[in-house]
Amino acid sequence: MNQLQNFTKGLLKENPILVLVLGTCPTLGVTTSAMNGLGMGLATTFVLIMSNLVISLVKDFIPDKVRIPSFIVIIASFVTVVELVMQGFMPALFEQLGLFIPLIVVNCIVLGRAEAFASKNGVLSSVVDGFGMGLGFALALTVLGSVRELLGSGAIFSLKLIPGDLMLVFVLAPGAFIALGYLIAITKKLNSK
């Protein structure tokens, strides 16, 4: 597999959320608006790239038995970095995403890529894989956020497109489940072509 294929597989064909259905908790929790979705997506992308990079570098030194705990410590360190940077430079976004920033640690996508890809492949492939998967995650989050924001308050990225109040339920909890359900169904249809 060349690097380009390696990169693009995360976007649609093996999209972590829409096809593999991993990391649903932050997906549903933070996508009340397109901006929140994008912010969360980029934060996770950073963690994915960095943890894939470090894990592919140290994979030969870690005994097989303590593999998973070591991966978790590496991931948790980068999550802490994201937490502190966001708190310092983007306090408003940090406040919005709240609990879901520390919860990147238990996002199945990050540990999943570490175990399934970075622990078996070289540095460059792992970074590209992390980047592609992260962007696929960010893409799905942004699309879901946009759909919910548009249906719920008639805006995308706070840009008002449709005047008046719409179906507020899409910004609230039930709308998250329903919108994601339909998005997954649509992706299935697109991929089956």
């Binding site: 649903t24 908790c25 705990p69 948790a76 937490e83 502190l84 520390p102 359900g181 169904a185």
Partner: protein, 190 residues
């Protein structure tokens, strides 16, 4: 009185799965049958309560006195991972029956964000240890509650004719959405 508010709020108003979006993976993954979801609920109750107690003690007796709260995420996830492993080993020795019932669910729990979520929320809300325990138990009950209701619905859903594209995860998510809508009726209860 405070405890009652915590309990009602955690189970109905701010249900951990349907309003807070924590623990969705097991919610979608193991909720095919009522019996398995009860098993998962039991395992989660056990681990969440234990994890909340230990992380609370670590936060207030180690991290805070030393001024290293920024290590919270790393410390908590390690505690939870270690705890799950330990529970598994102890349970295997002491109560093989319970282990057989909960065993398969235990490894899954480390990556269940409900556990880490409740531990962090307990610190964020500045609960006392006792309040934290009540909060943890109430949230686990809320988790099991949502899981069992959802499993009941899905058992019926299996017999329905669902359009091809919506089969599996999509219809489950839409169903969960409608269930969340029902739970929104509890808003304003406390």
């Amino acid at each position: 009185m405070e405890y009652i508010i915590i309990i009602i709020s955690a189970i109905f108003v701010n249900n951990i799965v349907l309003a807070q979006f924590l623990g969705i993976c097991p919610f979608i993954g193991v909720s095919n049958k009522i019996s398995t979801s009860l098993g998962m609920g039991g395992a989660v109750l056990f681990v969440i309560t234990l994890a909340t107690i230990v992380t609370w003690l670590v936060q207030y007796y180690i991290l805070q006195p030393l001024g290293i709260q920024f290590l919270q995420t790393i410390a908590f996830i390690l505690i939870i991972a270690g705890l799950v492993q330990m529970v598994e080993i102890i349970l295997k020795k002491v109560s093989p029956g319970l282990y057989a019932a909960l065993g398969v669910f235990l490894p899954l729990i480390t990556t269940n964000c409900a556990v880490l979520g409740v531990a962090i929320l307990t610190i964020q809300k500045e609960f006392s240890l006792m309040e934290g325990v009540v909060f943890a138990i109430a949230n686990s009950v809320g988790f099991s509650f949502a899981l069992v209701i959802f499993a009941g619905i899905r058992e019926h859903l299996d017999l329905m004719e669902v359009p091809a594209g919506m089969r599996g995860v999509p219809i489950a998510l839409v169903t969960a959405g409608i269930l969340a809508l029902a739970f929104m009726g509890f808003t304003g209860l406390v």
